[in-house]
């Protein structure tokens, strides 16, 4: 019984990790005016961020066309897969799940299981890693899918933004509106919900204060099962934060990765974030 795992380019798992685990990644599309790029194929994260900063109009992202998924699914069956688990960015945030579902219907709805991760970034990545681990342990696809369904409620994302500007541009300001009422320059801390909703978690004046607050917020979610650092642009800060986090949680494998454009567009450059999976019970 071979179960293969497919995900999309928003999962923020490092490429080496995906390759060694045999995970197939389908790229979302990035649109700058009329030019289309495949996420993390035609354009790197760093290129995206520099364009994000320069762009007059905000770039947009969109789901992979169903045809991409059809191609991948057929290829995996040709390679001998018995079942496919396809884990993707929250359906509330992207049409990726619907593209994948359309393709699954066309290829083999019985053997392809499309999973709405109900989260983004490493949150999706954590589900992908779980699927791979379970598949390697010999679990059948339906059991794995049931297992994944229990995870999204334990996932959280907390971000330190450099500015509210990009959140405003994306129209996803929600409850964070209250932070706008001040003349002081403020760095907001926010939580990202699975439906793209944004919850205010705090506001600080300095980046150092913000990083300290991030760590405090993370500690509130102990015990942690998994944790990772994602960053937009500021790789030095991101890697340093990951290093500090490893010291605080020595038993934990702390993934550090650049945020995908889907997240970068909404949070803006210099964002630092924790993505965590709370332990069960």
């Amino acid at each position: 019984m071979t179960v293969r795992v497919v995900t999309d380019s928003t999962c923020d798992l490092p490429a080496e990790l995906r390759e060694s685990a045999g995970i197939v990644t389908v790229p979302l599309r990035l649109h700058f005016q009329d030019v289309v790029f495949r996420d993390r194929v035609d354009m790197t994260d760093e290129q995206f961020v520099s364009r994000l900063v320069d762009a007059k109009a905000p770039p947009s992202t969109s789901q992979p066309p169903p045809g991409d998924f059809e191609t991948v699914y057929r290829q995996l069956f040709d390679e001998g897969a018995d079942e496919i688990i396809s884990v993707h960015i929250a359906a509330a945030l992207s049409g990726t799940v619907s593209s994948a579902t359309i393709a699954a219907q066309a290829v083999d709805p019985q053997r392809i299981h499309v999973v709405d991760s109900r989260t983004v970034s490493l949150g999706t990545g954590f589900l992908v890693l779980e699927a791979v681990a379970r598949a390697a342990a010999g679990d059948a696809a339906p059991a794995i899918v049931d297992r994944l369904a229990t995870m999204p409620d334990r996932v959280g994302i907390i971000c330190l933004l450099d500015t509210l500007r990009y959140l405003l541009l994306g129209g996803r300001i929600g409850k964070v509106r209250a932070m706008l009422g001040t003349a002081l320059a403020i760095k907001p801390l926010i939580g990202l919900g699975p439906d793209g909703s944004v919850v205010p978690l705090g506001r600080v004046r300095s980046r150092t204060g913000g990083i300290r607050r991030l760590a405090e917020l993370l500690a509130e979610h102990r015990p942690l099962e998994r944790c990772g650092v994602i960053y937009v642009g500021a790789a030095d800060d991101g890697l340093r934060l990951a290093e500090e986090t490893r010291r605080t949680y020595p038993q934990m494998e702390v993934i550090a990765h650049h945020a995908s454009p889907v997240l970068s567009t909404h949070t803006g450059p210099s964002t630092l974030a924790y993505c965590y999976l709370e332990g069960e019970g």
Binding site: S98, L180, T182, A185
Partner: protein, 558 residues
């Protein structure tokens, strides 16, 4: 099936070449209407790219169809278009369009030509496949439009109408559905627009009808999709006032300020700033030295950046109209009782600038008070009552007022906790840490922790001759207290400020906030701000009007 033997009459079937020609026309029409469709886009997320997405998806469909030989079956063209759009689908609307095309292709499978009944069947199939692709179909969208077009076509075909009429019936059904989408979804009704994706699909059907010879009355110039004047057309108001109005959805930010400068032309300023107000309106009034600007924009920062190039911005007010709208609705809907807070912060502060700043940061009430003008217990109690909250956190912002605040807390009928802030920077830091959704106890702890992390420099003048570790102090000298301790004194206020800041070079400071006192000229404060920037290039420096008396400057460092 086809009436090809009667060249004078319209053919009663669509060939492969005919369909391809129709799709080409549709692509052209979609390009014409693209920006209009983008502007309509408010559902599900107002990202304004529906027109672009549909256009590029159809382009991919046509690119695939164009690979086929000139004489080819309608089934082959439809299948190629479906496959091309599937591979090139962009965005939600593009994916749905690709599913419509997939259904259409299934509906005319293996057919050489498409007659009236087959057209109706193909559209019905397109509708069915599109619905199936969406998890939770929402009416009033492209789905409704394709379904109603299919239904109209089916009725017409059942009446044995020729294909041109069937197509025209589909077009009419589509535009009816588009027009009604305005009423079907709240977001569209609020924005006064019709559904973008539905509009795009109706454009495609109209173009097909037009291309296939029956479209004289199909093209919907008449359909009114937006209220108000054409986009971006300026209208002229009373003398000296130029208004720029454009119809658009969304509320954005109400941005108002005065612009102080020289030889400013209101028309030119409006033109410069109005670019950012493309969605709403811009109002610029006044004389060449002082203009008042009122703009509704989605990008207040852009407006302010441009404005700052034209003059000095004063009396800035930026309000989130969406939140105002929601708030108004909330109050209206649920009554005033709900406006009461569970937990609120009352702050003691001097000066208009500080009051505004603190209220903007979320203080429920501000009590006037500062050095040598401490509020009485009664005044504190009045502030506590004004706050309209069940539980109160009180920030005294002065070491001499901590006891008085605790006294007021005991006397008050409410639950009042004092977070003993000793100066305004501490008060601002504490207020920043406030979370209205957390408990009083959690907030108290968090605010105490955060207030301890900020350094405060208070600059005032000596009331008598004295001395300190740094030497003698003459009456009237500027003196600076760092976290309550006298660290610098001298004749020259800026020098005293810089000397006090020198003490913080190893304190891990990132942001300096300079609050200007009521008696300091703006130009002086600007000069000091520049001196701080020059001396400490790594620090971010912000300057605000505190409006406090007696203290020329209050400075926070964090």
């Amino acid at each position: 099936m086809a009436a090809s033997s009667a060249p004078a009459a319209l053919p009663n079937a669509v060939t492969g070449a005919g369909l391809r020609y129709g799709l080409e026309r549709a692509l052209g029409r979609l390009l014409e209407q693209r920006e209009r469709i983008n502007d309509l886009n408010v559902f599900p997320v107002p990202d304004g790219d529906t027109g672009t997405n549909m256009h590029l998806t159809l382009e991919a469909a046509l690119a695939a169809a164009a690979q086929l030989p000139a004489q080819t079956s309608v089934a082959a063209v439809a299948a190629a278009a479906a496959h091309g759009s599937l591979m090139g689908a962009r965005g939600n609307s593009g994916v749905i369009l690709s599913q419509v095309l997939r259904g259409v292709a299934a509906g005319c499978e293996q057919a050489d030509e498409m007659g009236p009944e087959m057209l109706a069947r193909a559209l019905s199939e397109g509708s069915k496949v599109a619905y199936a692709a969406v998890k939770r179909p929402v009416e009033g969208t492209i789905l409704t439009v394709v379904r109603e077009a299919a239904e109209a076509a089916t009725r017409s075909a059942a009446d044995h109408q020729p294909i041109a009429d069937v197509l025209q019936a589909a077009v009419a059904g589509a535009w009816d559905a588009v027009e009604r989408s305005r009423e079907q979804m709240e977001v569209l009704r609020d924005a006064g627009v019709v559904d973008a994706g539905g509009f795009g699909l109706a454009v495609i059907l109209s173009a097909l009808s037009e291309a296939l010879g029956s479209g004289d009355s199909a093209w919907p110039d008449a359909i009114q999709v937006e209220p108000g004047p054409p986009l971006g057309e300026p209208s002229h108001g009373p003398a000296g006032v130029t208004a720029f109005s454009a119809p658009h959805a969304g509320y954005g930010y109400c941005t108002e300020f005065s612009l102080v400068g020289a030889q400013m032309d209101p028309l030119e300023v409006r033109a410069r700033l109005g670019e950012e107000a493309e969605d709403d309106s811009a109002l610029v009034v006044g004389d060449p030295g002082l203009l008042h600007v009122h703009i509704h924009t989605h990008e207040p920062w852009e407006v302010l950046t441009r404005a700052a190039e034209l003059g000095r911005i004063e009396r800035l007010k930026v309000e989130d109209m969406t939140s105002q709208h929601d708030e108004a609705r909330r109050r209206h809907g649920r009554g005033a009782r709900e406006a009461r807070l569970a937990l609120g912060v009352v702050v003691v502060a001097p000066g208009f600038g500080f009051h505004q700043l603190l209220l903007g940061l979320g203080a429920a009430a501000v009590v006037e008070g500062g050095q040598s003008m401490n509020p009485t217990t009664a005044e504190l109690l009045r502030g506590i009552d004004e706050a309209q909250a069940d539980e109160i956190i009180l920030l005294p912002n002065n070491p001499n007022l901590v006891l008085g605040a605790e006294q007021a807390a005991r006397v008050s009928r409410r639950e009042v906790a004092v977070v003993p802030t000793r100066n305004l920077p501490q008060g601002v830091a504490a207020l920043l840490a406030f979370d209205p959704d957390a408990t009083l106890a959690v907030n108290r702890q968090r605010m105490q922790r955060e207030m301890a992390r900020v350094h405060a420099i208070e600059v005032t003048s000596a009331v008598k001759d004295s001395k300190f570790a740094g030497g003698p102090i003459a009456r009237g000298d500027a003196i600076a207290l760092l976290d309550g301790e006298l660290v610098a004194a001298g004749r020259d206020t800026p020098e005293v400020v810089l000397a006090a800041l020198d003490r913080l070079t190893d304190a891990g400071v990132e942001v300096i906030t300079l609050y200007r006192g009521a008696r300091v000229q703006v130009a002086e404060a600007e000069k000091l701000e520049q001196m701080i920037r020059d001396r400490f290039p790594d620090w971010e420096v912000e300057r605000h009007d505190g409006g406090q008396d007696l203290y020329p400057y209050i400075i926070s460092a964090e």
